[in-house]
């Protein structure tokens, strides 16, 4: 544990956080642009060329907004909730590798923050505690719509977490390791998405539900719950929720890419490790596009249908998939 | 088992009747009478086939074989398995039980058909055959047991079945509970005997540490004589209960309350011989205890004489046979008591044939009488309904109307009386010979009994079949269908030929049983004893002819014998007042004791203690109730206090 190592970690952490927050800003723009294109509009184009400064403008606007706290709200938790929402989103990608190793300033630097042998478990742990922020935000607002939104989010996330977990187990079984680096490396011959399309599909659907993205964005269904758990939020606190949502989008895209789409792997990556982050970036961008595309095309599904789908279709399917995978692995791999 | 796979069939002797009874129990309702009878008879018949196969196998391999079926009891060192013993003795018993049993089953299908017609309730038909098969099962367990405990299971099983079957017409009899009472009596008296057997088994286990025959017999010679005496005497108590010997014979005459096939199966051919079998089986123990042997012999001889005298004074056709059975069992017990095990077993076999025959034929007579009664009632006055179809005073002259029955009855009676070429002659003679060689006193008793035997059988023959009909029912009696007569004929043939089992000079049975009872002394054929017994039998018959056939005996007239004997006949008619004696000496004081215990002791003392305890605990509970306030937290607090106290104890001890 020498000083340089700690310094390296600190730098990598800061870099990761910066990338994520910066990514958040530009994913919003990305989404608005893509949505606009799909809806045959132009989208933001005033601030800067092609509207590239639009996120900056939005940020500045939100910072100067007035912070409203409802009179009967539980103030402490009301303030804590947005933070609790962002933190898991930020730390979840700590175990996702961006590449193998590059040599920089005469020092071999591993292009990941941590390669722990329980990385997938870590992902699940972080996913499971990311519910708190939303649930508490809904409850502490002392607003029935917000509370309902929070409760819905809780129920929904608990339900889909199981399917998500089972979907994530499949690559673990294929790779024989819980380390994401190992999983990515074992996709060298073929991406898991081709071997396990069902698992990827389940992962994708469950992850969408987990981050409350359309068509599973019931907790914030405007028509019935005004804006769900963040009805009462404004200013920077609202921005934090917004941020969390988009960071989570990036996170699940990264995790999904690593688990199923080969992560940083691509042509010539062994010869030129610096290509790794680039490949990962491209894959994340494509996944993000799909997410936005789904939002633009699919209607929101009804809440009871959502729960039924989660418990009666997705969960058994995921379970079955794990079972079949296990059997096949034993038969084939010995 | 080496090389003799037939031996492993032995569990099937038990399984087949079990299957039969289960089938009848489960689907019997739908099968109807024919099906039920068929299944029951088939189950018993197949068991007989298995026994025959076993006998064939034993011919080539005469040593005893133990076939373990399952682990039964394993407690510490003690290990007892449910095992079957195949040796000549047990297979002989199996053959008798299943063979005679099958014939009686066949007979019963016909007999019970009439019974259902007479007594209603067709449900009973099935129940009867379920009990019958159950009885066969229990009896086979008894004889095939490899240890005393399993034998005891069978022993109790036959006791239970006899209770069920004696009380089969439980709603009939005196006051509507007479039959139930008879069944109860049989059960309770048997229980007294069982108690003796149980103590014997306890003593065996206590001293030998095992209950398996081989294990015990191997150590028998080393055991203390006093102990062996105790064991054998307690066992004798069991024998007197099950085999209806003095002083516990009183249940058997009452047991005639059951249907006639029951009497034939249980109280003549099989169950009552269990005691004889037990003594024969335990022969290595008895041989070590001469005093016990002597006791057994005397008990048997006295019983033989007593029962024979009582039989003379009875009017009920089945009662006569019942006392005759007791008497003949006395012969067998006396035989095994004197060490003449083969003779006892021989008599057991022949007796099974002719006594079953006699009972079944008596049943045939009763059925014929019932027919006649019905017929008479249709034509004539309805008042003759109270007529007892079993009372010999109502019969007479049946030989013309029931030819087959008459002939087979004659064969059975002559066999029982011990007339020369028939089965009974040889077996009884062997017992007499043994008695003559060993204990002349017993020989005298037995020869007197034999005389009485011939006399009462003659009396019965003349009363039932000869002379003129003494009632309308007897006039109209008619022969029974083949299903009833065919088993009778078969049994009659067996009664005639049964002596061939152990003809003097050939000794088939003796050589056969030798394998199981090798240590017993041989009995020589003594010509003049045989002649004497034959002479005595002929004399008895002749005397009976003198008394009964010369004059017509009108209805309800006094017995001609009573005129010659006077008060003695009254005593005999009243069975020497033994039942009354038991009533006065045992039952009544016992009842008074029970009443005393019930009233002052139980109500006053025991209930007082119980109620006192109740009210004390109630008042304590009233105080404790305050802690039960329904608050979960205070319960939890109580637990914590307890834990804290225990911890303090652990800490400061």
């Amino acid at each position: 544990m020498d000083g340089a190592m700690i310094l390296e970690w600190v730098i990598k952490s800061i870099f990761l956080i910066l990338v994520m927050t910066g990514g958040f800003a530009y994913v919003t723009l990305y989404e608005r642009k893509v949505l606009a294109r799909i809806q045959v509009r132009i989208g933001p184009n005033r601030a800067g060329p092609f509207g590239v400064l639009q996120p900056v403008a939005d940020g500045i606007k939100l910072i100067f907004k007035e912070e409203l706290v409802p009179a009967k709200a539980d103030k402490l938790i009301f303030t804590l909730a947005p933070v609790l929402t962002v933190i898991p989103a930020l730390i979840i990608t700590a175990v996702v590798p961006w590449g193998t190793e590059v040599t920089l300033f005469g020092r071999t630097i591993k292009l990941y923050l941590a390669d722990i042998n329980i990385a997938v478990l870590y992902l699940m742990a972080v996913t499971s505690i990311s519910i708190y922020g939303i649930a508490l935000a809904g409850w502490s607002s002392n607003n029935k719509y917000a509370t309902l939104g929070g409760l819905r989010a809780t129920a929904q996330m608990i339900s889909y977490e199981l399917a998500l977990g089972f979907a994530m187990i499949v690559p673990v079984m294929m790779a024989g390791s819980m380390s994401l680096v190992d999983i990515v490396e074992s996709q060298k011959p073929v991406w898991f998405v081709f071997v396990q399309p069902l698992a990827f599909l389940i992962y994708f659907i469950a992850a969408l539900a987990e981050i409350n993205r359309s068509p599973f964005d019931m907790p914030e269904a405007e028509q019935e719950l005004t804006a769900g758990y963040h009805t009462e939020y404004s200013g920077m606190k609202f921005a934090l929720f917004f941020m969390a949502e988009y960071i989570k989008m990036i996170a699940i895209s990264m995790i999904g890419s690593s688990l199923f789409l080969g992560g940083y792997r691509g042509p010539f990556v062994d010869q030129l490790p610096a290509l790794g982050p680039l490949y990962l970036f491209i894959k994340v961008a494509i996944v993000l596009f799909v997410i936005i595309w789904i939002r633009a095309t699919l209607p929101r599904i009804r809440y009871d249908r959502l729960m039924q789908f989660g418990w009666k279709v997705l969960f058994p399917l995921a379970l079955l998939n794990v079972f079949v995978t296990g059997v096949v692995l034993i038969l084939v791999g010995g | 088992m080496d090389g003799y796979p037939l031996f492993s069939l032995v569990p099937w002797t038990v399984f087949l009747p079990v299957i039969g009874l289960l089938l009848n129990l489960l689907v019997g309702k739908r099968l109807g009478e024919k099906g039920i009878g068929l299944i029951a008879s088939l189950a018993s018949g197949l068991a007989f086939v298995v026994s025959v196969l076993l006998a064939i196998a034993l011919k080539g391999h005469p040593e005893a074989v133990t076939i373990p079926l399952a682990e039964w009891i394993t407690v510490g060192e003690f290990n007892l398995s449910w095992a079957f013993r195949v040796d000549t003795l047990s297979v002989t018993m199996m053959l008798i039980v299943t063979g005679v049993g099958t014939l009686i089953h066949l007979y019963a299908t016909g007999y019970m058909h009439n019974d259902v017609r007479h007594n209603g309730d067709p449900e009973r038909y099935r129940r009867f055959f379920v009990f019958f098969n159950l009885f066969i099962v229990a009896m086979l367990i008894l004889v095939s047991a490899d240890n005393y405990l399993m034998l005891f299971v069978g022993w109790e099983g036959v006791g239970l079945c006899s209770y069920l079957l004696i009380g089969f017409w439980f709603e009939k009899g005196a006051d509507g509970i007479g039959n139930a009472r008879a069944a109860k009596k049989a059960f309770i008296v048997n229980r007294i005997g069982d108690f003796g057997l149980l103590i014997a088994i306890f003593l065996l286990f206590w001293n030998f540490g095992t209950l398996e025959f081989d294990g015990i017999f191997a150590k028998a010679a080393q055991a203390a004589p006093a102990l062996l005496l105790a064991i054998t005497l307690f066992m004798l108590l069991g024998v007197t209960g099950k085999s209806a010997q003095l002083p516990l014979y009183v249940w058997l005459p009452d047991a005639m309350a059951g249907p006639t096939p029951v009497s034939a199966l249980i109280h003549a051919a099989t169950m009552v011989t269990a005691g004889v079998y037990l003594v024969a089986r335990s022969s290595p123990l008895y041989i070590q205890a001469p005093a016990a042997q002597m006791t057994v012999a005397w008990v048997g001889a006295l019983t033989a004489l007593l029962a024979a005298t009582i039989a003379i004074g009875q009017y009920d056709i089945k009662k006569v046979l019942a006392y005759s059975t007791i008497s003949q069992l006395g012969f067998m017990v006396a035989a095994v008591g004197m060490g003449a095990f083969v003779a006892g077993m021989f008599h057991l076999a022949t007796h099974a044939f002719f006594k079953a025959l006699l009972f079944l034929a008596a049943g045939s007579v009763i059925l014929g009488m019932e027919h006649g009664e019905e017929h008479a009632a249709q034509g004539h006055s309805p008042g003759s309904h109270e007529l007892d179809p079993q009372d010999m005073r109502n019969m007479g002259g049946l030989q013309g109307r029931m030819r087959t029955t008459f002939w087979v009855y004659l064969v059975g009676a002559l066999a029982l009386a011990g007339i020369a070429p028939l089965a009974g002659f040889f077996s009884k003679d062997e017992i007499l010979a043994a008695a003559f060689q060993q204990t002349p006193a017993i020989f005298v008793l037995l020869i007197i009994s034999a005389f009485f035997t011939a006399f009462y059988m003659g009396r019965q023959l003349f009363l039932v079949f000869f002379g003129k009909a003494r009632s309308a029912a007897a006039e109209h009696a008619r022969e029974n269908p083949a299903i009833i007569t065919v088993p009778l004929i078969i049994l009659a043939v067996l009664s005639v030929l049964g002596g061939a089992l152990n003809l003097p000079g050939v000794y088939t049975l003796e050589h056969w049983l030798e394998k199981s009872l090798a240590h017993v002394p041989k009995v020589e054929f003594t010509a003049w004893v045989a002649l004497l017994s034959l002479a005595v039998a002929l004399a008895g018959l002749f005397l009976a002819w003198l008394v009964y056939s010369q004059r017509r005996m009108p209805f309800k007239d006094t017995d001609p014998l009573a005129r010659y004997l006077g008060g003695l006949f009254t005593a005999v008619y009243n069975k020497w007042w033994v039942d009354e004696l038991y009533q006065a000496v045992i039952v009544r004081p016992y009842r008074r004791l029970a009443e005393f215990l019930a009233q002052p002791v139980d109500v006053g003392l025991i209930d007082g203690i119980a109620n006192g305890l109740g009210s004390v605990s109630r008042s304590i509970a009233e105080q404790l109730r305050r802690f039960e306030n329904g608050y979960v937290r205070s319960y939890a607090l109580t637990i914590l206090v307890g834990v804290a106290v225990i911890m303090a104890f652990l800490l400061f001890r």
């Binding site: 539980d74 938790i77 722990i116 505690i129 519910i131 409850w139 608990i158 977490e161 819980m178 | 914590l640």
Partner: protein
Amino acid sequence: MLTTGTIIFGVFALVVIASALGMLLSRNAIYAALFLVLNFATVAVLYLILGAPFIALVQITVYAGSIMVLFLFVIMLLGAEKLPAGEPLGHHRWIALLFGLVFLAELALFLVYRAGMRAAVNTPPLEFGSPAAVGMSLFQKYALPFEITGFILVVATVGAILLTRGEGFKGRKRTLEIQSQDK
């Protein structure tokens, strides 16, 4: 002796104790639940220190992530965060506190007098509590308990569904009745 390890442990132990007491003392059930979550998370860190990474993350996933979320959910659903004041059992509180302290003292005495193992816990090798090691022993040596646990989980699931389902059936029937009345 203050080593780095001890200091780290001290900090986390303080958090553990503080959050336990916070749960104990907070009037609001939501706060109690949150304190407990904090407690669990900190204990998970202690597990990491003790070389049990698998258990640590399971602790977070199961306890902090599922069980406590469920608690929070039920509290919010029932609106049961606050109860009216008032104590029906008069002396109960003081007796409970007294015996709680007695119990604590006893346990502490045990620790002091009966412990007899003043050895430090060494952080075990990394493979010790790894998922592979845990999995191997779980599916080989402890396969039967594992299956039984699975069975218990299924039973509990069925039980929970059955317990909370009753109203749903009635409700559905009622709507059906209303619909049939409409027609």
